[in-house]
């Protein structure tokens, strides 16, 4: 069944708009087109999964949307703001308050406790330490780790670390949560916990989630799926219209 953008967009507000984005790396003389003309609208409140095999350009897409990298050509708008127009300081502001990032390797600060990690973005935003503490504890409670607030990353399991990372990404009430293979380093059970947590955040808190993954379990919670291969969009589908079967999903256009 063909994806009907016009119908899908009805009553929805565009939050992220990616317009003909190219990103070319140079491996010596030879160009690598990691993104090769991607155009995509992401709507507020959506949970979108970006699928694709390893090396297809998911992380590059993630970087372009999150303002972590500058595309070779094309434009990215977030909330109507052209990312290319922002200077370093404004980008820092954007990353601090509009976007939350969740990485495959968690990227927690190993010398800080869970609470300190969660409140770090608040410190960058200039939130007073009392308020940051209160909000940090609330966020840790949200991911069921309130009792672990004083633990350091090396005293926690992978699933717990990823939950701390998610709490951290929510620190300044972002409207977008960008996740690059959030369950890639986790066992099945912890992965499930993470994707239900993301689902919850999407449904209850209205956070827009953009998730690069090739974990089929994550698909069940998303509202839309995008398949990428070789830096191009292969296919788009509403989850409601896709029958999810383990191991049968991928880029082989059977959806």
């Amino acid at each position: 069944m063909k994806f009907d953008e016009a119908k899908y967009a009805e009553g929805k507000e565009v939050l992220v708009s990616v317009h003909d984005v190219h990103r070319t790396f140079w491996r010596g003389e030879e160009p690598v087109h990691a993104l090769d003309g991607i155009t995509l609208n992401i709507y507020r409140g959506e949970y979108i999964c970006v699928m694709g095999p390893s090396g297809s350009g998911k992380s590059t897409f993630f970087n372009a949307v999150g303002g972590l990298d500058t595309p070779t050509s094309g434009r990215v708008f977030i909330d109507g703001v052209d990312m290319a127009q922002l200077n370093a300081n404004e980008l820092a502001f954007l990353r601090c308050r509009k976007i939350g990032y969740v990485f495959q390797q968690f990227n927690l600060n190993t010398t800080m406790t869970a609470l300190e990690n969660v409140t770090l973005p608040m410190v960058f935003a200039g939130v007073s330490s009392d308020e940051a503490r209160a909000r940090g504890m609330a966020l840790l409670d949200r991911v069921n780790l309130a009792d672990r607030w004083n633990h350091r990353p090396k005293e926690m399991s992978g699933g717990q670390m990823q939950r701390v990372a998610i709490a951290r990404s929510l620190a300044n009430h972002p409207s977008i949560l960008l996740c690059d293979e959030p369950t890639g380093n986790l066992d099945l059970k912890s992965g499930k916990e993470i994707h239900w947590l993301l689902h919850d955040l999407n449904v209850k808190d209205g956070v827009t989630v953009i998730c690069a993954t090739h974990d089929p379990n994550m698909l069940a919670v998303s509202s839309r799926m995008v398949w990428i291969s070789d830096g191009r969009i292969d296919n788009i589908a509403e989850t409601a219209n896709v029958k999810i079967e383990q191991n049968s999903l991928g880029t082989d256009e059977e959806a």
Binding site: V14, T39, L68, N89, N107, N109, T111, L120, V123
Partner: protein, 501 residues
Amino acid sequence: MSSPPVIREIDVRKQHRMSLRETWTLCIRGVKHRLFRSALTLAVVVLAVAFFMFLLCDSMYQRAVGKGVDAEIASSRAAQIQLTRLLTPATATSAMRHLAAAEKAGDEAALAEAASVTGLPPEEIAALAGLAAKERLYTDWFAKMPVGRRLILVKRDLGRDALRRILAEPDAFFRQLAIMVDLRVPGPRKADGLREFLAVFPDYVSRMDAFLDRWNAKVAEAGRFTSARLAAAGDPPETRWIPGAPEAETEAWRASVAALGFSFSPEDLATMRSQLRDANDEADLADRLADAAFRDAWKVKFREATDSTAEEKMGRLGDKRARELLADAFPAARLDELAANHSAKNRLSKLERALAASLGDDSALLGLSGRQLFLLAISFLVCMVGIANAMLMSITERYREIATMKCLGATDSYILSQFMMEAALQGFFGGLVGVVLGFAISTVRSALAFGGHLWAYFPAGDVALCALFSLAAGVLLAALASIQPSWSASRMAPMEAMRVE
């Protein structure tokens, strides 16, 4: 697909600017975990600072002990110096040196004495002393100059003769001087200063001659008093008469000499009496030890196969057999004193020789010689490179952390200041350890070399200054060395930094 949306009003504002306090709080939160992980950087800082501290402390110790020993030696020769001054006519050179030294040390008493002896007004004495200091400066310069250059500039002349030669042909001299670009004329205004001095030189020489005439007239008068006393006492040399004569008699002599204007207080006389007594006894003891009959008696008493030297005998004066042999001339307590005196003098003269170089140039920076300064500069450079390299490594190691912080909203300037603060902290703690290490090494070394003299003249204030300087050097070096790597790390796009493993 839809076209890009219309650009809305940009509600993106400036990111919060972190205050130094906020940065500091964040920085020290992790630092106790990181400080010792970056052991390499720390070790380099420790070594660098220890080396500075060692060099600085070492030269401070040498100077302090050198000055102390010099003063000790001067006071142990006070009697001899005073007698010579009172009883032998001054020469042009000795008068010049005396006035120049008084000028340099700000010795008001010596200048006042010169005025009261010669009867010249104090202003004239002060002016002469200033000029004498200049004469000393330039004549010393000729004396220390490499011989080849001196031969070209002033032929074989030295001292005043050299100045007279220049005055005879000033153009030739200054032409040659201009050719020797690296030869620097000492004193203020360099060559111009020398020219100014030469202009007043003939006048100065005639004033100095007048000074000398007046001074030596008084010396001759003092000599008359002294020889009258000596004749009355049966004409022993003054070194025998002064300690031997009744105090009232020597006091009368002192008073008549002091009345001429010389500074010669009753305390000076007391010191003179006791020093001369010691010197006489030492001389008598030395004569005794060198006497052939005594040496034979010693040989028998000590069952020596070969004759021991006088020096070896001095070392054994505490022995009961030695005391028995000398009992007729010296009581045991006096022998102990003489032996102690002798070994103290030996130690002093040994130290004096060892420290001869350290007192060379007062004007050098922090009392360091040119060679030491060069070493210091080189080590500064090497440490800079070492610390920069260590910093680069420790920052590259943390690219992922930096990228993550940027994703969480850290600004470039925050990252730069956090990393520089961390480096400065490392510099501080490494510096503390280095200061203690350098201090310990140089103190142990100097204590071994100088013994009690180090504690007697311990330059505590200077050492504290050295410690502060070394510590500041450590902090500064570390912070400077981290500027470049932190700067480039802070400017990197998070995505690039994230990829570096």
